[in-house]
């Protein structure tokens, strides 16, 4: 297994807040993708339901977008399932290391990682 010293050094400097933000962003993109596939819905159909153009949908489904609560609400309503579910006590993410869905009544739903990498993290 090859590791790059400079990359590992930069990775070690990433703040917990940035880690969480990036994990949530990827998790929500994963969820949108899963729901679109489950429902057999195209991005064009999602755009029509949300009331925006397809370019905007692409911006929310590719890369690591910065979602607003308003956007998450619009997409959740259009997809018929909450992309993020938040309780009153705390937020946790299933499938993300360091978080345990069982420990909280509230959660941010993420897809399961396909493999574990960077055990030293």
């Amino acid at each position: 297994m090859k590791h790059n010293a400079l990359f590992q050094a930069q990775l070690a400097k990433v703040s917990p807040q940035v880690k969480k933000e990036t994990e949530w962003s990827a998790g929500i993109v994963d969820n949108i993708d899963r729901l679109l596939k489950q429902k057999g819905m195209t991005q064009r159909e999602l755009a029509a339901l949300v009331g925006c153009n397809e370019t905007q949908i692409v911006r929310w489904t590719r890369g690591f977008p910065n979602f607003t609560l308003s956007t998450l609400a619009k997409l959740s309503v259009a997809l018929g399932e909450d992309l993020v579910s938040v309780g009153t006590d705390m937020v946790s993410g299933a499938g993300v290391k360091g978080y345990d869905k069982q420990e909280s009544s509230s959660c941010v739903y993420f897809s399961e990682p396909e493999a574990v990498y960077g055990k030293n993290q």
Binding site: N4, V18, E23, F64, N66, Y117
Partner: protein, 159 residues
């Protein structure tokens, strides 16, 4: 003028390999130049950290198409790793769910990368390398096996 280019494996997980290109026998890859450029840039520190962590997630979850945004032309595989809230772009070739080739990147100050000489140069380098890979796949000198690119060891490409 054509540049001597080599392809180096820089980072690997159980499911993904990240390669980068190196020019004119430079001991550093373009990805390392990118990291060196931003590691001490305080004003872009948060965006840089997001890109580094996004790469970590890609190594963990796979180089899935949805994590990249097409950035070159229709005929090539050049993508950007965009962090929407930020202005840093890191350009790469997403070969498969298991292989990514990373180039260099910079700050996107213009509406399109074509308007920025530096970013346009990085995209152009990857477009040229994409053509070389395409040609290598056709003539059988390059192949992809899982997360490995075969046929690149000690090879110098002219781009």
């Amino acid at each position: 003028m054509k540049k001597k280019t080599t392809l180096e494996l820089v980072e690997q997980s159980d499911i993904v390999s990240i390669y980068s290109i190196s020019f004119d026998m430079d001991r550093m890859t373009e990805f390392e130049h990118f990291m060196q450029k931003f590691e001490s840039e305080a004003s872009y520190n948060r965006d840089f950290q997001k890109i580094i962590y996004a790469l970590h997630l890609i190594l963990e979850k796979g180089a899935l198409e949805r994590y990249f945004r097409p950035e070159g032309s229709i005929n090539d595989g050049v993508c950007a790793l965009p962090i929407e809230s930020g202005r840093i772009r890191l350009y790469c070739l997403r070969i498969s769910d298991q292989i990514v080739i990373i180039g260099n990147g910079g700050i996107k100050r213009t509406r399109t990368y074509q308007d920025n000489k530096e970013l346009y140069g990085y995209v152009l380098d990857l477009q040229k390398f994409d053509h070389i890979i395409e040609k290598g796949l056709k003539d059988g000198t390059i192949s992809f096996e899982g997360r490995t690119i075969q046929g690149i060891d000690d090879k110098i490409f002219m781009i």
